[in-house]
C-alpha cells in the first residue's frame, strides 16, 4: 500500500482521470443493465415468432446478422472483470490524491465507493445483485488475503508472543461473545420501544449469544487494512494481527455450536463439554491439515529444479487445497492456511529460484490487494442492497457493548498476561490493542448465512458495528498513535550485523539457560532447531542447500540483492577483462550531498585519448551484439538463456548499462574534469600504479568521508587483497571510555584504511549514484 506522490502538475489530470474512469464504469454498468433487459426483450420476440408454425418461416427470412449482441454467454466473467476493474481503478485513483489518502484510510474510501456504486445500481435497475454472497467471499475473496498474511508472517515475533496472542484470541473472544450476547439479551428484555415494529423481547438468549459470537471476532482484513497504514511497532502489530487470525477457530466453533443449539432447542452440560472438545479439534485439526499440505508443498518444491516456471503454482495450489480441505471437515480454514504458509516457507524458499520467489511475492500481494478492495466495495454495495430494520436501541447498545467488552477484555487479560511476560505491555499498548479491534467482512458474511428469523435486524446491527469501527476507529487511530507517541516501526533494512547478533544471542541465551539449569524457552527452541537441521531439512530441501546454515543463506540473499542493485545503478565489475577499469565510470563516489543540478560536473571522469575512446566503443559494441544474440534463443519452457539463470538478469542489465556507457562516452568531451592533484601520497600512487584512475571530486577534503561501495566482497579477489591490507592493523573498533556508544570506528584509521583499499582493488567499485535513474524511456542516442 504505497502511496505514490503524484507531481503537482499532474494531480489535476490524475483526479479528472479517476473521475472519468468512474464515470465510464458507471455508464458501462448502466449499459449493462439496459442491454440485459434488451436482450430479454428480443429473445421473447424471437420466441413468439417461432411459436407460429411453418408458414411464417418462408415469408420472414432473416437477413444475415452482421452485428449482434449475445451477452448471456459471457455475462458472468464480464461482470466479474468489471468489478475487479472498478476496484483497481479506484485504488489507482486514491493514490493519485495524496491528501485524501493521508487522512482517510483506504478501507473507508472503498466502502464509500461501494455505497455509491450500490446506489447507482439500485437506481438503474431497481435491484442490486447480491454480490457478497458467502460462497464468493469465503471461497474466492478471503483465501488470498490470509495466504498473503500467513506466507509472510514474521515467525520470530509471532512465536515469541504466542502465549499472549492465544490468550487474546481465545479467552478474549469468548469473553466478548458472552458479554455482548448476554447483555444484549438483557437490553432486549428491558427495552420496550413503542415506536418500533419489532418486538425485541422476542429474541431469545440463544440467538443473542449467536449474534454475540459473530460480532465479537476481530477481523484480519480490516486490521490489515488499517494497521498497514499506521506503521506501529512490530510487537503491537503482531499481537493484534495474530489475534485476528487465531480467533477464527473460536468463531467457527461458537457459531456452529450456537446454531446447533438453536436447532435442537436445549442446552445441556454435555453439550458444553463437547463444545470445548470441538474447539480443540477445530483449532488443532486446522493447523495439522495446514502443516501437512505445507510439508507436501516443501517436498514437491525439492524436485522442481527443471521446471521452474510452475513453482509458484505449487505454492498457491497446495495452500488453497489446505484451505478447502479444512473447510470440508468444518475445521478452521484460516488457521490451516496460516499453518500451511508458515510451514512451507523456509523450505520452499531454499528450493525455488529467485524469480519464482519474486513471482510468488508479487502474485500474493496483487491478489490480496484486489481481494481486499473488492471486499470493501462489496460491503458498501451489500449495505445498500439489504433491507434494514432500524432499531435505535438495539443498534446503539450493540455498538456500546462491543466497545466496552473489548476494553474490559483487553485490560483484564493484560493484567493476567503481564505476570508471565518478560517485556510487559504498557497502558499505551493496551489502548492500541483495544482500539485496534476492528470488525469487518467476516462478521458480515457469517451474519448473511444466518437462518434466523431475526436475521435482518442482526445484519443491520453487524453493518453498523462494522461501519463504526472502520470509519470512526480507522480514521482516528492514526492521529491517536501520533498523539500518544506510540513507538513506530523502524524501517531499517535487516543488516548482516543484526543477523549475526541474533544468532549469537540465541546461542548465548541458550547457554546461560543451561548454566542456570532449567529448561527454558530457548532450550526448547534450540532443540527444535537441531531436530530441524538434522532430519527435516535433509528431506525437504534439495541438494546442497540443506546443509546451509541460516546465516549463510541470509548472507547470500543480501549479497545478491546488493549485487543486483549495484548492477542496476550502472556500476559493476563484469565488463570485458582486457579493460579492467579504464572504460568505466567506476570511481570512488563521495557521499552525494550536492544538488542534482551540479551533478554532471562532479562526475570525475577519467581522461582518455582518442584512440582509447575508439577502442572502448568497439568493445561496447561487440558486447552489445553478443548479448543481443544470446537473448534471442530461449523457449517458453526454460525462460532462461544460460544454465546459470542469474546471468540472464545480469545480461539484460549489462546491455542497458552498455548503452548508457556508450552515451556517457559521447558526453565525455563536454564533461571532462581535470583531476585535482592530490597531496596525499597514497592517492597519487593510486593514480600511477594501476590503470584505475580513481579520482575524488574536486573540492573534497583531504581525508574525505568516502563511502566505499566495493564490488561484492564475496569475490575471492577482493577478500584476499583485503587481507593484505588489513593484516597490519585491521579495521579497529574501539570503545571510547566516555561515549555512550558501544561500537565506533576509530577516526584516524578511517581515511588511511580506506585509501589503502583504494590502492589494492583493481575494481575500485561502482558508482552508486542514487539520484540517477536511467529509465528505459530515456532516449539513448546511438
Amino acid at each position: 500500500m504505497f502511496s505514490r506522490m503524484a507531481p503537482r502538475g499532474r494531480s489535476g489530470l490524475g483526479r479528472s482521470l479517476a473521475e472519468l474512469g468512474l464515470l465510464l464504469l458507471a455508464i458501462l454498468v448502466l449499459l449493462d443493465g439496459t442491454v440485459l433487459s434488451l436482450e430479454a426483450a428480443t429473445s421473447s420476440e424471437i420466441d413468439t415468432h417461432e411459436g407460429k408454425p411453418g408458414t411464417h418461416k418462408n415469408t420472414s427470412k432473416k437477413s444475415f446478422p452482421v452485428l449482434g449482441i449475445k451477452y448471456d454467454d459471457v455475462s458472468v466473467p464480464f461482470e466479474i472483470s468489471l468489478w475487479v476493474l472498478l476496484a483497481s481503478l479506484m485504488k489507482l485513483g486514491f493514490h493519485l490524491i495524496p491528501r485524501l489518502s493521508n487522512v482517510v484510510p483506504e478501507s473507508c474510501l472503498l466502502i464509500s465507493v461501494g455505497l455509491l456504486v450500490g446506489g447507482i445500481l439500485k437506481l438503474a435497475r431497481d435491484e442490486v445483485p447480491p454480490v457478497l454472497s458467502d460462497r464468493i467471499f469465503f471461497l474466492c475473496l478471503l483465501p488470498p488475503i490470509i495466504l498473503d498474511a500467513g506466507y509472510f508472517l514474521p515467525i520470530r515475533p509471532f512465536v515469541e508472543n504466542i502465549g499472549t496472542i492465544l490468550m487474546f484470541a481465545v479467552v478474549g473472544t469468548l469473553w466478548n461473545a458472552f458479554f455482548v450476547g448476554g447483555l444484549i439479551y438483557a437490553v432486549c428484555q428491558i427495552a420496550q420501544d413503542k415506536y418500533s415494529e419489532i418486538d425485541l423481547s422476542n429474541i431469545g438468549i440463544l440467538p443473542c449469544l449467536l449474534f454475540g459470537s459473530i460480532i465479537s471476532a476481530v477481523d484480519p482484513v480490516a486490521v490489515l487494512a488499517v494497521f498497514e497504514e499506521i506503521h506501529i511497532n512490530e510487537l503491537l502489530h503482531i499481537l493484534v494481527f495474530g489475534e485476528s487470525l487465531l480467533n477464527d477457530a473460536v468463531t467457527v466453533v461458537l457459531y456452529h455450536l450456537f446454531e446447533e443449539f438453536m436447532e435442537s432447542g436445549s442446552v445441556s452440560a454435555v453439550d458444553a463439554i463437547l463444545g470445548l472438545v470441538s474447539f480443540l479439534i477445530v483449532a488443532l485439526g486446522g493447523v495439522l491439515v495446514g502443516a501437512f499440505y505445507g510439508i507436501l508443498a516443501a517436498f514437491t518444491s525439492r524436485f522442481t529444479s527443471h521446471t521452474r516456471v510452475i513453482e509458484p503454482l505449487f505454492v498457491f495450489l497446495y495452500s488453497y487445497m489446505a484451505y478447502l480441505s479444512a473447510e470440508v471437515f468444518h475445521l478452521s480454514g484460516i488457521m490451516s492456511l496460516i499453518a500451511c504458509g508458515a510451514v512451507m516457507r523456509p523450505y520452499v524458499e531454499a528450493n525455488i529460484s529467485h524469480k519464482s520467489h519474486t513471482t510468488i511475492k508479487y502474485f500474493l500481494k496483487m491478489w490480496s490487494s484486489v481481494s481486499e478492495t473488492l471486499i470493501f466495495i462489496f460491503l458498501g454495495v451489500a449495505t445498500v442492497e439489504g433491507e434494514h430494520h432500524w432499531n435505535w436501541v438495539f443498534l446503539t447498545s450493540t455498538v456500546v457493548l462491543c466497545l466496552v467488552a473489548r476494553v474490559i477484555g483487553v485490560v483484564g487479560l493484560t493484567y493476567i498476561i503481564n505476570k508471565f511476560r518478560i517485556v510487559k505491555l504498557t497502558t499505551k499498548d493496551q489502548f492500541i490493542i483495544a482500539y485496534g479491534g476492528l470488525r469487518g467482512a467476516i462478521a458480515f458474511s457469517l451474519g448473511f448465512i444466518l437462518h434466523s428469523e431475526h436475521k435482518k435486524i442482526f445484519l443491520t446491527a453487524i453493518i453498523t458495528v462494522i461501519f463504526f469501527t472502520v470509519f470512526v476507529q480507522g480514521m482516528t487511530i492514526k492521529p491517536l498513535v501520533e498523539l500518544l507517541a506510540v513507538k513506530k516501526k523502524h524501517e531499517a533494512k535487516r543488516s548482516i550485523n543484526e543477523e549475526i547478533h541474533t544468532r549469537f544471542l540465541d546461542h548465548l541465551l541458550t547457554g546461560i539457560e543451561d548454566i542456570c539449569g532449567h529448561y527454558g524457552h530457548h532450550h526448547w527452541k534450540n532443540k527444535l532447531n537441531r531436530f530441524n537441521k538434522k532430519y527435516v531439512k535433509k528431506i525437504l530441501i534439495a541438494g546442497d542447500r540443506s546443509k546451509e546454515p541460516q546465516l549463510i543463506a541470509f548472507y547470500h540473499k543480501l549479497e545478491m540483492k546488493n549485487a543486483i542493485q549495484m548492477v542496476e545503478s550502472g556500476g559493476g565489475s563484469k565488463l570485458n577483462s582486457t579493460f579492467p577499469s579504464t572504460v568505466s565510470m567506476q570511481n570512488i563516489q563521495p557521499k552525494i550531498h550536492s544538488p542534482p543540478s551540479a551533478r554532471p560536473s562532479e562526475r570525475a571522469l577519467p581522461q582518455l585519448t582518442k584512440g582509447r575512446e575508439e577502442e572502448i566503443r568497439q568493445i561496447l559494441r561487440t558486447n552489445l551484439q553478443k548479448t543481443r544474440q544470446r537473448l534471442q534463443s530461449y523457449n517458453r519452457h526454460t525462460l532462461v538463456v544460460d544454465p546459470d539463470e542469474e546471468g540472464f538478469d545480469d545480461l539484460i542489465l549489462k546491455k542497458r548499462r552498455m548503452m548508457e556507457l556508450d552515451w556517457k562516452l559521447k558526453q565525455m568531451t563536454n564533461y571532462l574534469t581535470v583531476p585535482r592533484s592530490q597531496g596525499s601520497p597514497t592517492m597519487s600512487r593510486a593514480r600511477m600504479a594501476s590503470d584505475s584512475q580513481a579520482y575524488v571530486k574536486p573540492g573534497a577534503e583531504n581525508v574525505p568521508t568516502i563511502k566505499i561501495d566495493l564490488a561484492s566482497p564475496q569475490s575471492p579477489d577482493s577478500v584476499r587483497l583485503l587481507d593484505e591490507v588489513v593484516q597490519d592493523q585491521g579495521l579497529t573498533m574501539s570503545l571510547p571510555s566516555s561515549s555512550s556508544r558501544a561500537y565506533k570506528t576509530s577516526g584516524k584509521d578511517d581515511g588511511r584504511d580506506q585509501q589503502k583499499l583504494l590502492r589494492c582493488l583493481s575494481d575500485p567499485g561502482p558508482d552508486v549514484d542514487d539520484d540517477e535513474d536511467y529509465d528505459d524511456d530515456e532516449p539513448v542516442p546511438t
Partner: protein, 201 residues
C-alpha cells in the same frame, strides 16, 4: 539439600539482592545451582562448566564460559581474568540477563542497555584490549558457523568482512543501534525451586 527452604536467608543474600536486583528467592535457587555446579565448593572453576552436558552443542561455549571469568564483567574497573569465581561474581554475571522492570526511567533503561551491550562487547573482545578487530569478528562468525561443517572459512570470512564494512558505512558507525537489546537479552529466572532437569556429567 532439602533443608534449604526452611533456613533463613543469610545476610550476604540480602546484600547481593540489593546489589544485583534479584529477589531473595531467585538468589536461593541460583545458590543451589552454584553449589551443584561446583560440587559443594565455594568457588567455580572452568572445568566445572565443562561438566554441563547440554552446553556441548553450543558453538560459542568457550566464549560463554570465558565470560564468567572475565573480570571486566564484575565491575567496570577490573581488568584481566580470574581463574575461579565465587557466588557473588557468578550472580553479577547472571544479573546481566535480568529483564528490565517495567517502571523505569529512560536513564535507567539506557544504563541497562549499555550494560548488556558492554557484556556482549567483552565477549567479542577476546584479548581484552578494548578493541574488536576484524580477526575477532571473523573468529566469532567462524564459531557460529562451526556446527555446519565444511562450508568453510571462505564464507565465514566473507561474512565477517561484509559485516565490518557495513559498520563502516553506517551513519555514526553504530553497530546495533536498532537492535532492541534490552528486550532481547533476557532470560526468565525462576523464583521457585524447580528440580533442575539437566544433570551434570
Amino acid at each position: 539439600m532439602g533443608a534449604l527452604k526452611s533456613t533463613p536467608a543469610p545476610i550476604e543474600h540480602h546484600d547481593l539482592s540489593e546489589k544485583t536486583g534479584f529477589s531473595l528467592r531467585q538468589i536461593r535457587v541460583l545458590h543451589k545451582r552454584f553449589k551443584q555446579l561446583s560440587d559443594g565448593d565455594d568457588v567455580l572453576r572452568r572445568e566445572d562448566f565443562l561438566g554441563i552436558s547440554s552446553l556441548k552443542y553450543n558453538p560459542i561455549r568457550k566464549e560463554i564460559i570465558e565470560a564468567f571469568f572475565n573480570r571486566r564483567n564484575f565491575s567496570p574497573s577490573c581488568e584481566g581474568r580470574a581463574n575461579e569465581i565465587d557466588f557473588e561474581e557468578f550472580l553479577v554475571v547472571m544479573s546481566h540477563f535480568k529483564p528490565p522492570c517495567s517502571k523505569m526511567t529512560d536513564e535507567q533503561r539506557k544504563n541497562i542497555r549499555r550494560e548488556k551491550l558492554k557484556f556482549i562487547f567483552n565477549m567479542h573482545d577476546s584479548d581484552g584490549d578494548g578493541l574488536i578487530t576484524l580477526e575477532d569478528y571473523r573468529h566469532l562468525v567462524e564459531e557460529l558457523l562451526s556446527r555446519s561443517g565444511a562450508l568453510g572459512k571462505e564464507t565465514s570470512r566473507a561474512i565477517a568482512d561484509a559485516a565490518m564494512f557495513e559498520v563502516a558505512r553506517t551513519v555514526g558507525h553504530r553497530l546495533l543501534s536498532n537492535f532492541d537489546i534490552e528486550s532481547r537479552m533476557n532470560i526468565r529466572f525462576l523464583k521457585t525451586d524447580v528440580i533442575p532437569g539437566c544433570r551434570l556429567g
